[in-house]
């Protein structure tokens, strides 16, 4: 339990350079969501959304990182996820958010699907300089324990 609390407080940064990174990122997301007290269903939504954006990193940019951090909100805590890459970027974000649209070999569900799974979702992208997908799931109730602090 203590280990998990420390994970929650310090945030996580997972390199996505192979499909293994996708698995590690979604598992880290589930662990942090659980540590925050998110419901089982919300933990699954978070893990699924992370899996989609991490796969996009691998598919379109080849490499990137998924960053996970606790964020305080008006009613408790949330998990903020940033999927960052320095790939080709997205020329038309609105189009990329349309169901079934894909320039790769996927179902085209990744971005629009992840948006539906999360409470907040935004994309910043410059063609040629990469993409940052930011998403938040609220509903955390547990106080994140500060690393090294005594009870």
């Amino acid at each position: 339990m203590d280990d998990q609390a420390i994970l929650v407080s310090s945030g996580r940064r997972i390199a996505v350079i192979s499909e293994e990174g996708i698995v590690l990122a979604r598992q880290a997301g589930r662990e942090m969501s659980a540590g925050l007290g998110l419901s089982e269903t919300d933990q699954t939504l978070v893990a699924t959304a992370i899996s989609e954006v991490a796969r996009n990193i691998l598919l379109y940019a080849g490499r990137g990182v998924v960053e996970l951090e606790v964020t305080p909100g008006p009613n408790g805590y949330g998990l903020r996820i940033r999927a960052v890459d320095e790939g080709p970027g997205i020329a038309d974000i609105e189009l990329a958010l349309r169901d079934g649209y894909s320039t790769g070999h996927s179902l085209g569900l990744g971005l629009p699907g992840a948006r539906r799974l999360m409470d907040e979702f935004s994309i910043t992208s410059e063609p040629g300089s990469g993409t940052i997908v930011t998403m938040v799931k609220w509903g955390g109730t547990a106080l994140p324990v500060i690393e090294g602090a005594s009870p």
Partner: protein
């Protein structure tokens, strides 16, 4: 939680039972597809069950793989039933827009086996 664990495929008469042990990576899904397609030919397999009761995440790639796997098994002859999709996973799949068109499902392994013997 390990992403490298092999997926056991058990035979019970003319039924193959595939019980996933947790979260699978892409390579494990691909290996499972190959293994299962080999195993259905071993003897006269009539049914295959894919038990997902301990799987806690299915993304769009996994869903696409399951649909492909089901179709491939069916083309070889046996009927495949996907069992045990957890409620949170089902919720996430629907939100994602990744469903399993044309795939027979059952509540759990027992239900799947009952469908096979009585259905």
């Amino acid at each position: 939680m390990s992403s490298t664990a092999a997926v056991p495929i058990l035979r019970q008469g003319d039924i193959l039972i595939v019980t996933l042990q947790g979260d699978l990576g892409d390579a494990e899904w691909a290996k499972l597809t190959d293994d299962l397609l080999d195993r259905v030919a071993e003897r006269r397999t009539r049914f295959a069950v894919l038990d997902l009761s301990v799987v806690d995440v299915l993304d769009s790639f996994a869903c696409r793989t399951i649909v492909g796997l089901t179709n491939m098994v069916a083309l070889r002859g046996p009927t495949m039933i996907v069992a045990g999709i957890q409620p949170g996973v089902a919720f996430a799949m629907v939100q994602l827009g990744a469903t399993l068109p044309g795939v027979a499902t059952a509540l759990d392994l027992d239900h799947a086996l009952a469908l096979m013997t009585h259905g």
